[in-house]
């Protein structure tokens, strides 16, 4: 069994975002880049599945769409434990082009299980995994909090509004994973960091694919009015403000 994990390269979660070019572009000055948190959990789960020999996982590969500047993030995934990587050599465009590039890059690689994080912390689109599944003609399961292999068949837990469903799915498939898929992201050990240097990043030249959407401009959120404080003994006053001023009751 071969597992693919799609990874996105995003600004560190604590980054204070700023924009340049009249709010058309992210100011990348001083940004620390990391593996998208959900993708990191997906990778962790893939490696956990490989650790248990009874699951029969031979390899865990990571795939990424981006330029050579993403290589440190890919190396981090290799250091954590992925066996090899595929990078489609083009600056990431909209979700549609990313998914289309990924689909072309992996179509003939016969992955049995493809894991994608449910969203990236930059554009919050939640679309690449489902699009990839549709491009490949694979089934998808979205909102996955658990993936297990039982007798060669994938058993998946899907979170739905107000509960969860346990389902089985035929391979190959795409699982779009969320919180719960792995407890904590796995951290690279020194040995992993050393061996990552020699692991293969296969660079694939991109297809010509037009984007369907385009960011025209960014905006900063409206600043909220300053916090209004009431004393620690004046709970009644707080409730009165919520009732009469904020009108939430």
């Amino acid at each position: 069994m071969k597992i693919l994990v799609c990874v996105s390269n995003v600004p560190d979660t604590t980054t204070k975002v700023k924009f340049v070019d009249e709010f058309k572009k992210l100011d990348v000055n001083g940004i620390q880049w990391i593996i998208n948190p959900w993708d990191e959990l997906a990778l962790t789960r893939a490696l956990e599945l490989k650790d248990d020999a009874s699951n029969g996982v031979q390899t865990v590969t990571v795939a990424h769409v981006g330029l050579v500047s993403s290589d440190p993030t890919i190396r981090k995934a290799l250091a954590i434990g992925a066996d090899d990587a595929i990078r489609v050599n083009i600056e990431a465009g909209d979700a549609y082009t990313i998914a289309a590039q990924l689909a072309e890059a992996v179509r003939n690689e016969n992955f049995d299980v493809i894991l994608c994080g449910i969203e990236s912390s930059d554009h919050n689109g939640s679309t690449v995994g489902g699009m990839l599944a549709e491009f490949l003609g694979y089934p998808s399961v979205t909102g996955v909090s658990s993936v297990k292999i039982e007798g060669g068949l994938a058993v998946i837990t899907r979170e739905i509004d107000g509960g969860k469903e346990i389902l089985s799915v035929l391979s190959p498939f795409v699982a779009v994973v969320q919180k719960g898929i792995a407890k904590e992201p796995r951290i690279a050990a020194m040995r992993g960091i050393m061996t990552a240097r020699t692991k293969l990043i296969k660079v694939i030249e991109p297809q010509v694919i037009e984007s369907l959407t385009e960011v025209i401009s960014f905006e900063m959120p409206m600043t909220r009015a300053a916090c209004k404080y009431v004393g620690a003994d004046d709970a009644g006053q707080l409730i009165a403000l919520l009732q009469n001023e904020a009108k939430v009751f």
């Binding site: 679309t127 489902g130 739905i160 509004d161 919180k179 959407t213 709970a235």
Partner: protein, 323 residues
């Protein structure tokens, strides 16, 4: 031409989010001069379907095929794509919950339609078609142009007000046979959470953090929530410690919510927590540390010990309710 809105149901019923979707779709249709068509898949009573017309659906298409009971993402997206073709959909609207997140991307590829996810406002303009959406987990917003003929939008829950705009109830029962080759998933078990208000549905959410100090201190917080008809939630350290269930974790990697009122009790307000709650209309913070970042996001604050303030809040709410 139409604006097509997809509605899932919960045991044959719709909920507030369904009516938000129809309200939104109907306003988009008004902007474009198109008709609002609502699509329901699964067994739903006519009386329930009729409610959709109250919020502006000019036509309700209902597909109640016995063979499509389970939510198979490939099957559902093929059916919705077919209805989109039949009804000449120019804009397709879904919820930004897990079902919408499952279907919107597949439909995007099928219909070659650009998607904007998690929109919270009407499009800024129809031509070019520009929508406003959250990016960088709420730290910024983007104006996104969708360049394709057909557009797909997923609407953030609790972001659009219900607006009644009654139309005559026109029901069309459609029979579409799904391609059985597509069904590669099989649901074996469904576990429903019962008797609790869902955090994502709730108008008021009462949430506790590490400042609650111990899992044994949650009594007054739950009491406050019960009095207000609110859902209970928690910060990540609390769910990681196992003080509260993981289902309650609100924040970037947990549930992302937009209630009318959010109580952050003993929560310092790390970036990751704010990413999950910053769309709340009113945030109330209670924390011992006056410099905690939660106070920058909050409209109302009490600097004080959560465990001492909570019983007073409970009393104050009881008093308000008795009046």
């Amino acid at each position: 031409m139409s604006v097509l809105v997809f509605l899932e149901n919960w045991d044959g019923k719709f909920k507030k989010l369904s009516f938000e979707l129809v309200s939104y779709a109907s306003k988009v249709a008004e902007m474009l001069g198109d008709h609002t068509v609502a699509l329901s898949i699964g067994k739903v009573d006519a009386s329930e379907l009729e409610k959709l017309s109250t919020f502006g659906a000019e036509k309700v298409i209902s597909i109640e095929n016995e063979t499509i009971k389970a939510f198979d993402e490939q099957t559902y997206s093929s059916i919705i794509a077919e209805v989109a073709h039949k009804s000449g959909a120019k804009v397709l609207i879904l919820s930004n919950n897990n079902s919408g997140k499952a279907l919107a991307p597949r439909l995007s590829v099928r219909l070659k339609a650009g998607v904007a996810s998690g929109v919270s406002k009407l499009p800024a303009s129809a031509n070019p078609f520009v929508v406003y959406k959250k990016v960088y987990s709420g730290k910024a917003f983007a104006n996104v142009e969708i360049k394709t003929d057909i557009k797909i939008l997923t609407l953030a829950q609790n972001s659009f007000e219900l607006t009644e705009s009654p139309k005559a109830f026109v029901l069309e029962k459609m029979d579409i046979q799904p391609d059985s080759n597509l069904m590669k998933t099989q649901v074996k078990e469904v576990q429903k959470q019962s008797g609790k208000i869902l955090i994502t549905d709730a108008d008021i959410v009462v949430s506790g953090g590490r400042g609650m100090k111990s899992p044994d201190n949650w009594g007054p917080l739950v009491e406050l929530a019960d009095l207000l008809g609110a859902a209970t939630a928690c910060s990540r350290p609390v769910s990681d410690e196992g003080w509260r269930s993981h289902d309650e974790h609100t924040g970037q990697t947990g549930k992302i919510i937009a209630p009318n009122l959010y109580f952050a009790i003993g929560i310092s307000g790390a970036t990751q927590h704010l990413a999950g709650i910053s769309s709340s209309k009113i945030i109330v913070a209670i924390n011992t540390d006056k410099d905690a970042p939660i106070f920058e996001a909050a409209q109302y604050g009490i600097v004080g010990d959560a465990l001492k303030v909570l019983p007073k809040l409970v009393e104050a709410v009881k008093e308000m309710k008795s009046k």
